[in-house]
Amino acid sequence: MFILTFDYFVFLICLFLFYFNVRKHQKSILFIFSILFYVLISISEWYKILLIVLYMMLITYSFGVLIGKNNRFKSSLLLLSIFLLIFPLIYFKYLNNIIVLVNNVFKTNFIINDSVFQIIGISYYALSAIGYLIEVYWGNICCDKNIINVGLFIFYFPVIVSGPILRYNEFSLQFNTNKNLEYDRFVKGAFLMAWGYFKKLVVANRFSIPAHNIYNNFEQFSGVTIILATLCYAVELYADFSGCMDIIGGTSMILGVKLPKNFDDPFFSTSIQEFWQRWHITLGLWFKDYVLYPIQKTEIIIKIGKKSRKLFGKRIGKRIPFYISMIVLWFLIGLWHGGTDYYFVASGLVPLILIIITDIFSIFYNNHNIYENKYLNYFTNLLRRFRTILLVSICWVFVLASDVSKGIKILYRIFTKFIILSNFHIDILRKGLNNINLTKITLVTIIFVLLCFFIYDVFKNIYKIDLFEKIFIIKNRYKVVIIYLLLFLIIFLQTMNDNQFIYFQF
């Protein structure tokens, strides 16, 4: 894993030069090290990656300048630039997956292209670059006439492999002045990094053990056990991705650049819509601003909306154009996740169906009940949160199964063999602990993490105290103690079963 290997310590050299050597050239240093970092972590030959870097930079920079000139061809220029930026993404990332998908579905024999090589992070930085050009086109920002600024925005090394997807106006503002090394910012960044490593190496890796082992032999287990395994995977995925974001966020904080939030306690969402607003936030906002809104504002969708209102009444009619836009949106999100059949189902089809069904329910059922008793309120929201997690887990079934037909078989087993009475105790006690390699240390870690989740939740939702935010405002010397405590816990509780971040693949 790049972020946990020596490659990442390029960062330390960069940091030294950034603050102590040639502070006047901070942007240039960061740019050079970003490219160096990207070449070092890339699996393909370095010259191929350099060509891709140059290509993406030149397209973004030159089309930014051309579109910014406000000429009458700017719509065509924008479309052409989007095509040119998406082309390598489709060719190198999605094409083979789509060929396999088409061959499977339509029983065709299209040949897979062997000449493609892996380009890490292109799905993230291509979206950032497209977002920049759209903002220039809309006139919300001016084009940047310095190619180093554009290059740094696209290839800023902390975010290059897994996002978050950046917005140019937020990013460039933070680079207008030279930065001094501030002890406070350094400690906060280091704390965030330690927290991220803890999430990945302890939480994600421990929760992955029962999840993957149960799924590998799902025929032996009851529906309840499979649900528990899926919930373990949900925690694994969250800890893995948000842990990665914390490491990245901490790294960037030390360099003086605050990154946008990518998670907002998604497991505490009371509805499925809210969950997707709090999970991978920068991706959701990108698709909302640059895909969903423009589709909803096309003449044809507006006309459909007006007609459907006349036909079905206001309440139902206004939903039809929204659902059409959502079909396009979730198809593209499914494609963004790689274009494989199970990611189309898990990241496109299932979320789409869940959102539409819950929205239809919301016409008849009000989900905003608020009770005067705060404990009753908490309990009701707890049930809603649990319902949301269970519904979202349907997506994770397909991701964890990595196969649509296996996912369907697992779902079928969950519903038809929910509890196998004669085997139930064997499931949990014997197979649970031995066959799936659930050691005492893993079990204790899982219980400890769930307990922490619960305490955090109670404080946040009943007493309105965010314990994590509290840690951020305590004195630095205590923060340093917590960093050491986290490192101590990582050393004793970590498991190196899988050190690849799940979201690196996208």
């Binding site: 903002e135 919300n140 819509q273 809104y293 504002k297 206001k314 206004k318």
Partner: protein
């Protein structure tokens, strides 16, 4: 059109889109202050405003408008 007139007409649009006669707007009102003002209703609202004030809100503004005050500024600049 004065700011007060724009404000009054805009309040009617909001009440109609969100089916809520109790909505009261001020310049600082944002999506967080109105329960149903989410990504689903945002464009419905924008289209209703365009129909009422007979102008097209540029896409860049659809995304960046932060509150009702900014919406009224835009209406006064471009609307009828």
């Amino acid at each position: 059109m004065t700011r007060a007139e724009a404000h009054e007409r805009l309040t009617k649009v909001f009440r109609d889109v969100f089916d809520d006669e109790s909505i009261v707007l001020n310049d600082a009102t944002t999506a967080n202050d109105i329960d149903d003002w989410d990504s689903f209703e945002h464009v419905n609202l924008v289209v209703a405003v365009e129909d009422e004030f007979k102008f097209k809100i540029p896409m860049g503004k659809v995304v960046t408008m932060k509150n009702v005050g900014e919406m009224i500024d835009l209406i006064l600049e471009m609307g009828k």
